[in-house]
Amino acid sequence: MTLVSPTVRPVAIASDRKPVLEIRNLSVDYGYDDNAVHALQDVSLTLHAGEVLGLAGESGSGKSTLAYAATRLLPPPGVITGGEVVFTSSRDGHGGDLLRMSDAELRAQRWRDTAIVFQGAMNSLNPVYTIGKQLIDGIAAHSPRGQKEAAKRRALELLDMVGIPKDRLSSYPHQLSGGMRQRVMIAMALALEPEVVIMDEPTTALDVVMQRQIVEQVMSLKNDLGFSVIFITHDVSLLLELADRIAIMYGGNIVEDASAREVYREPRHPYTAGLLHSFPPLHGPRRELRGIPGSPPDLMHLPTGCNFHPRCPFAFDACKTIEPALGPTRFEAEEPHRSVACLLHDPAVAPGPVPVELGVRPTETSPLIKESSTS
């Protein structure tokens, strides 16, 4: 895991990198009638080539829904009610709007361009087939007929790549440990060398030692094969380590989008700040933690205005009526690449300056950056 020099990075992200997957104004409902739950509301997010984008949020915040909707894997009663998801290959420029592709196009596109590693490897593998059969099946479906031998060779290569002994090809899923099953899932996702890999909580069911192994493996594969990753998890501390950029979701919206270091050092949204105060630190001084009062919102009865206002320590009157949009922070001049959805950062409505906790000026932290990069 490398820490890219933070002094050069932020500005480079916005201009130099090519977008691979652009999600624009995506909305998803669960249910068909007037009582439908609005699980995603106008969510926009861009993944650049070679980037690791972390998507963090509590259960019910819509992070998995976003991943499934963007790949058109959303099971009923989930309905995509609007938006577009544009894939543009960084290799040869092919692509298009995934939401408007025909079934045949979509079938060809899946796995080749975007692959997904599902939550819970226990349930994602078919228990009555060997992992070899499942791997070869997928590869064969995307290659010309009569290439079974080549597919088998490729399957062996993939197992080797994720560090599973080759004789495991004829094992059934129950004969493998949880970590190995997760590796098989990753090998499957990488079978056709996709450009985008979406990982939906790939390590949640594993313990920390195994989590570390898997994450390090994914990162080294990413460096070798050059794909982009959307990493979905509720564990912000893990994301801070491995993601280039983090998008924080709350109640079906993205509330903050910034680089990992910025999220950690200079959170701009009260929810992000609260989330960072919910993890007991392993090192450093032991301090009293408060977490965030209240409970995550019920999507059936979302509060008016800002979804977070009932739990927000900085809420003021306008928060109850105005729904904040994802926009620039108060320090736009210094950090044009960041965005946050909070009225505190809207000078037209905010009652005063940004509270100290959320208003660490970007320049003030530069000594800190130097310290951490040299030590």
Binding site: M210, H234, D235, S237, Y264, F279, P280, H283, L289, S295
Partner: protein, 350 residues
Amino acid sequence: MPTPHEEVTRSETQVDAPVLETIGLTKHFPVHRSRTRVVHAVDGIDIQLLRGKVVALVGESGSGKSTVARLIAQLLGSTSGVIKLDGAPVKAHAGRAFRRYVRNVQMILQDPFASLNPIHTVRYVLGRSIRIHHPKAKKAERAELLSGLLTQVDLVPPERYLDKFPHELSGGQRQRVAIARALGATPKVLLADEPVSMLDVSIRIGVLNLLQNLKQKFDLAILYITHDIASARYFADTTMVMYAGQIIERGPSERVTQHPAHPYTQLLIASAPDPDQLTGRDERPAKGEPPSLITPPPGCRFNPRCPFAMERCLTQQPPVFQVGEDQEAACWLYAEDASVEREAAFGVRA
């Protein structure tokens, strides 16, 4: 509600005898269709729980930590070993003896979505606990106890929650009801088996802080079982690390997390995500998987994964060695005649 801090007036000098103690607690599960082979789930565990103290039991999945909780709760019979409550050995499987035992030792389970019966209201769930453990209470007293329980777990006003069904509550509120149910027995010991790992991150700390307050208020002894060593540091006074059914390290939480002695604890701490340690990460690769508990490796059970494994680690099981003042580790590196190897492994350390 009185503030919990005022109630702790117990003199610190008083040397407590453990309220609950296990000596050599062992559980072997039989393997299907085999007379001789067993799963060594828990092997010779010694735990002392003191009043007003939290002991954390940390380990990865499959290390046997939940089995320990079930053994202490007497939900499973042990293969060998003794459980002592207030100094007297107890063996309570069912009936009155079991009920007397659970009045003192209550358990909170991991998943509040599964541990509350969906067809009963909060009133019924807590009412059962009160009825069973305070059989002589009058109706008015019971009502008072009921709202008292909810107040203690910060579900206020109680009337708002009494007639709710579990599905109407959030995960955090459900876990609070489960805690209230345990408190209904006015226990001395609380066994908390991963009480927050199924909850959303933003409310975990709230539940841990609640347990902390209750501990001080009622002078509870808490066994906190978790796989998250950072939360053990935050919440527990003593931390014990479990690996493959055995305790391999024990000491004050701060000491164990900041200066881990056993190579496994070191691996565990190096693996935990920590945003403050991005640059200074120890690049020791985490290799291998936990061993089979049917045929555990001879000698130290960690030896196949241990970067410092020596010859005797492969054959002899390490006893518990004292490391520093109050920390102990079951690792041959801390044997008196292994100082050379110890320095080679860790460098010269205090």
